[in-house]
Each structure stands twice: as C-alpha cells, then as structure tokens.
Symmetry: C2
Subunit: 414 residues, 2 copies
C-alpha cells in the first residue's frame, strides 16, 4: 500500500470510526440514559470481528486491512496517553490526601476484596486454555485479575459526581477519594505485574526502578519545577508555546515509561498530576481535550474492539467462567464498597450509590486489559471476558445510581 | 518493528519534532522578528538529510527509520488537511466577492506574471535532469511552476493584516482580496495539473469531474445544508457532537478528494469555506486549531524536510537555476503586484507593502510542492529549489513590510 493509499484509507477509517462511536453513543444516551463512553465501548466491539467481521467480513477486511493496524495502534496509544494525562490533570491531590476514616475504609474494602476473589478464582481459570499466557505465574495472574476487578472508571465517577452537584456532599467526597485511592492502588499493582514480567532480573529491575524513579520525580520534584508555568499562564494566558512545551513533556514521559517496560499511560497520568492547577490546567484541557476525546480516543475503542473476539467464548466452561468473573467483579467491588460504607456508618442509599459508582470500570478497564494483552499477560479468551465485564458493570452504574437518588429533587437532573 | 516499539519511537520522534520546531521558531522570532511558520519551515530542513542526515547520519537513521515514514506521512496529511480546513474556515467569502477594481488588477497581475515567467523558464529547466519527471509535458510543467510562483501565504497575510490593525484599511482590503483570488486561481491550476496527469483519459476525467462536482456541491449546496448547524451552535454552543460531525465531514471530504485523484487539502479547504460563520466557526477553530497547529502541522514540516535534499543542488547549473527561479518568483509575484497596485493608483508605500505580503509563500508553497513531488510532477532537484524559494520569500516579507510601515505609529507594534 502506497503512502497516498494509506492516508486516504485512514481518512475513510476515521470517518467510519467517529460516525460509529457517535451513533452508538447517541443511541445509548437517548434510549438507555447512558454516558457517551458506554456507547463507544460497544461501538468498538461492533466494528471488530465480533460483529462486523462476522456478518460482513469483506467490509471489515476492506476497512481495516492488516497494514493499517500499526497506524491505528499508534493513534490509540496517543489517544489513551493524552486521555490519561487529562485524567491526571483533573485528579485532585487534596481529595486524595484528605481521605481519612470512611474513605479509607471504602477504598481498602474496594481493594482487598477484588484481590481476594481474584486469588480464589485464578487456579480454576488457569486450567482453561487461552485465558492466561503460559509464561505467567499464579501470583502474577492473581494480581493482574485483581487489578482488573479493582479498577474504577475514576473520570466517569468524577463527572457523575460533578454533574449531579454532589461534589461537596458526603457521598461525593467519599466516592471521589475512595475511587482515587483505589485506582492508584490498582495501577501500582499493574505496574508491579508488568515489571515482574521482564525476562530476566535485569528487565524487571529496569521496569521497577525506572517506574519508581519516574513516579518519585513526578510526585516530589516536577510540581515545583513546573510551578512557574502556572504563574505565567495566570498572567498571560495559555500560549501556543506553553501548549507545545506541555505536549513535548507528555511525549517524553510517555516514551520514557514505554522504554523502561511500563506503559505510556503511566507517563501521561503522572505528568498530569504534576502540572500546576488553575488557569494553565484549564487552558490545556480546553486545547487538548476536544481533539483527544473526539478524534483520538475513538481509535482506542475501535482498536480494542478489533482485538475482541467474543466468539472464542462459545463453550460452556468459558461461558461459566465469564459469568463467574462478572459476578465476582460486581460483588467484590460494588458489594465490598457497599458493605465497607455501611460499616463506616453510611445510610443504605449512600452506600448503594457509592457501590454503583465504584463498580463502573469503563475505559479504565479497557486500558488495563489492552496492556495485559499487549504485554502477554492474558490471552484472547480472558480479554473477551473482561471486555464484557467492563461493558456490563459500566452499563449498570447509571440506572443503579439513579435508583439510589430517587425522590431527591434538590440536585440538577443532569 | 513491533507495534509497541513503533508507538514508543513515535513518542520520541514527536518530542524531537515539536522541540525543534519550537526552538527554531523562537530563535527566528527573537533574533529576526520572523513569524513562527518561518522557523518551522527551517526546522524541517534542519532535521532532514540536508543537515542532521549529513552531520549525524546515525541519529537521523535512529530517529526517522524508514518504517516510521508511513506514519509521519499520514500524520502530515492529517495536519495539513485540517490546517487547510481552518484556512477555509477563516476565508472571507465577502472579501472574495467584493474585490473589484484595484484588487482585481493586483490579483490578475499577480497571476499572469508568474505563469508567463514559468512558461518562459520551463524549456530551459526541462533540459536539466531531476527537475521535472519524464512523464510531465511542457504545458503541465509550466502550469505547475506558475502556480508554485503565484501562490501566496494567504493565512500569514491575513494574520499580518489583522495583527497590525490594517483590516479595514485600503492596504488591508486590497491585499486580502487579491491574495484570496490569487490563491484560489493557483489552487485551481494545481488541480488541473493533477487531473491532467492521470494515465489515460478515464483517470483525468474522474479527477476533473470529481473535483468540479465536489467544488460545486461545496460552493452551492453545502453552505445551505450546513446552515442549521450554525444556528444550533449559536443557541447551545459548540457541543462535542458538533465537533465530531465536523471532523467526520472533514474526513469524508479529504477521502473523497484523495480518491478521485486530487488531494485531501482541497476537501478540507472547500469544506472550511462552506461551514457557517459565527459561533460555530469560532468554536471549531478553538477546539481544532491548538492540536492541529502545535502537534500535527509540525509533522508536515518535518516530513517535507525529510524529502528535502539541498545537496542535490551542488552543481553550477543547478545553483544558477535556483537563483533564476528565486529572482523570477520575487519579480513576477512581488514585483508584478507592486506594479499592478501602482498602475491602479496606489502610493509607493502601499504598493510595496502589498508586493511584500503577496510575495511570501510560506506553508502554502510547501503544500503545493509536496503534492507535486508525491504525484510525480517534480523531482528532488526542483523540490529543493522551491523549498529554498519558499523560505527566502517568506523570510523577506516581514522586514520588507516593516520598511513600508516605518514612521507610522498609529498602528499597534504587534
């Protein structure tokens, strides 16, 4: 395929990707009251081998030939890296620090239970072919599955809390801080698994050492080094030069984390948390988010969908495993958070609301399992199971949460 | 190269590309008073085989291996397509229509002279190997070179006019309308050349017919079909859905123009001119421009620079040809516009200002000659000559223009 043919096909692919994501997103919003992200998760599966590839393999092959996969992969990595940078940018360090008492209880409950059920299930799952890769040990498998169950769609949670005007309430503060702690914990575990996967001690040490060194720099040093940028932005607005500098830093952080054997998303996210807040953060968001979320992120959903083969689950034992993982995820994350909140003295409705929000995994789950597939932790089978788990738990969140808020008219309808 | 290695290298490439473009842009602005675009044009040449490839071939090969060229090509096409969409979005249809009298004289002068000198020079240039491709006829060569000499950096011209507060003045109106007419004419000629290049009548008819049909739809029908979007944006702001719809339309237009054998930039530009003005145009600009100009467009400058081999010009006759093309370009565009403005009754200073601005070719020239190289109209030699011509004529504009404005303190310094 010549350069000209490739770029021309890329334009057509992207038109199909954006149109499908928007159309399915609109349908899910209009008829199911679901946020856009749910539609895009489903759109990815629809354009992949699970639907389009099955009913119209000719169109699928013409629209997504093998030669374009590399291009889509890079676009997806860029989109998801920038998205995690934006998540980091809105991550409230104070909420994270101020999370004492009940938040700690909820987040610890929401962390321990997933890893416990993962450890319990892994010996059974490892007996089925195609779920975990042969080179992965039991501990690594349990940690990865635990993280996949423990993760929360933190950005979606934050948006729901803010849209419903719950940001200052007990429910809001609790969910946000518990979600932040839980997600940080889950990502650290994923990082540990990736670091431990390196063949030979040298590669593992490079990944772990590089990751820890990078995280320390981003948490302890970068905020101070970057602080003057915040002052400049406050005085003069966010210039094109500041945007270019930020994008350059983002690219270097993403590259560094890829290079040590971690993943670009860590670089993006940690840089986001280290950027000065205020005018700069808002300006960067306004300039990066529209293109990243509307153009680049759909590439990730479609790339993930192209990897999703739901038909591999067409056996009784795999269907049983799928349902078991789904039930375990709902009980060990949503259920555990509910119980922890109740034990910490919250009402039934508040606890149920927290459980519903913490149980939604959304895009975060897709990011983790795509990393797992790419780094050869999990196989096509478990990948497909976890895609289904991500979609179902995210679909559940909005109606469940609405149920706990019934009769409360003080908050905006959003 | 695995997907992971490719995306990791892409992050590093992009960091180097953005850093170089910004650094050279800053130096050119700080020490030469030049706009950012001049720096980026030079940065592209510096990172290519003309400098980096010569002094540090190892770094050049490691940073831009052949496997990444396709990726950079697609990124460059996307950047330049979106850029032309933004140019179309700011293209003032009223200025174009209201250009009677002197503007017509200037723009006709600025159109006829370039094609005349191109026709005069082409027989000589075609005698040198590597300037035009063997399949190109004399008429096609003269038309293409004429368009390359006639083109004006319309977006740069518009920015200078607006930044200096000259938008309502005689100089401002004249330059803007003459630039718009001239550029439209030059692009039509490029389109004709591309259409005529198709092997066999069928391909030429497809390109010409497809191009004309598309242009008619975009000029006559699309503005009316798209008008309700403008009203929606005025009432409710520019939503994510509207941005997605616009990007989807852009991609389809770019794909359509690529597919008939024209080029994606025509699709982007014509769609831009057809979009409703007001809140929608401003909102789309705010959401697309930062990422397109700061992240994607530098890929185009670097891709163009990777194709630029100034060392192929190391022969006396080629150096003579380069100087002749440069002199012809300055006289036939800047000089002709000056004379036309004088004949139409303008003062010496106004006419000189118009000539200086019309003579700057900037990014527009790079777009045209990259299309020429890609569609096998011109070879490496003429490409390198025209890169030099583009840089020199763009470098000239700001100091020349400042000279004509000396002693006028009424306008902001900008």
């Amino acid at each position: 395929m010549s350069n000209g043919e490739l770029s021309s096909l890329f334009f057509l692919q992207m038109a199909a990707i954006i149109a499908t994501c928007r159309a399915v997103g609109w349908l899910c919003h209009r008829y199911l009251g679901q946020p856009q992200v749910v539609g895009e998760m489903i759109a990815g599966v629809l354009l992949g081998p699970s639907l389009l590839g099955m009913v119209a393999p000719g169109i699928e092959a013409a629209l997504f030939p093998a030669e374009t996969k590399k291009l889509l992969y890079v676009g997806a990595q860029l989109g998801v890296g920038l998205y995690m940078f934006l998540v980091g940018l809105t991550f409230d360090r104070d909420e994270f620090r101020a999370s004492a008492g009940p938040a700690a209880a909820v987040s610890i409950g929401g962390m321990i239970a997933p890893f416990a059920v993962a450890a319990a299930m892994v010996p059974w799952l490892m007996g089925m072919p195609g779920l975990f890769m042969p080179s992965v040990g039991t501990a690594q498998a349990a940690l990865f599955l635990g993280a996949a169950i423990a993760i929360t769609a933190f950005p979606m949670l934050a948006r729901i809390i803010h849209e419903r005007g719950l940001a200052g309430t007990r429910l809001g503060t609790l969910s946000l801080s518990a979600g932040a702690i839980g997600d940080a914990g889950a990502w650290i575990v994923v990082a540990l698994v990736l670091a431990s996967l390196g063949e030979g001690a040298g590669i593992a040490i490079k990944a772990a050492g590089g990751g820890v060194a990078f995280a320390l720099v981003m948490v302890l040093i970068a905020p101070r080094v970057l602080a003057p940028l915040g002052g400049m932005a406050a005085r003069r607005g966010v210039s094109e030069g500041m945007l270019a500098l930020t994008l350059g830093l983002f690219l270097l952080c993403a590259w560094a984390m890829d290079t040590v054997g971690m993943h670009a998303v860590f670089g993006g996210f940690l840089l986001g948390t280290a950027m000065p807040r205020g005018v700069l953060a808002k300006g960067l968001r306004d300039k990066i988010e529209p293109f990243a979320v509307t153009f680049l992120l759909p590439i990730f959903f479609i790339y993930s969908g192209l990897n999703t083969q739901l038909q591999v689950l067409g056996q009784m034992n795999l269907i049983a495993a799928t349902l078991a993982i789904l039930a375990a995820a709902i009980l060990a994350k949503g259920g555990a958070c509910y119980i922890a909140a109740r034990l910490a003295g919250e009402t039934h409705d508040t606890a149920l609301g927290i459980g519903a929000l913490m149980n939604a995994r959304g895009l975060m789950e897709l990011i983790i399992i795509n990393i797992g597939l790419q780094h050869k932790v999990i196989g096509q089978g478990l990948f497909a199971m976890l895609v289904l788990m991500a979609i179902v738990t995210t679909l559940m969140a909005t109606p469940l949460f609405a149920l706990t808020r019934r009769g409360r008219t003080a908050e905006p309808a959003a």
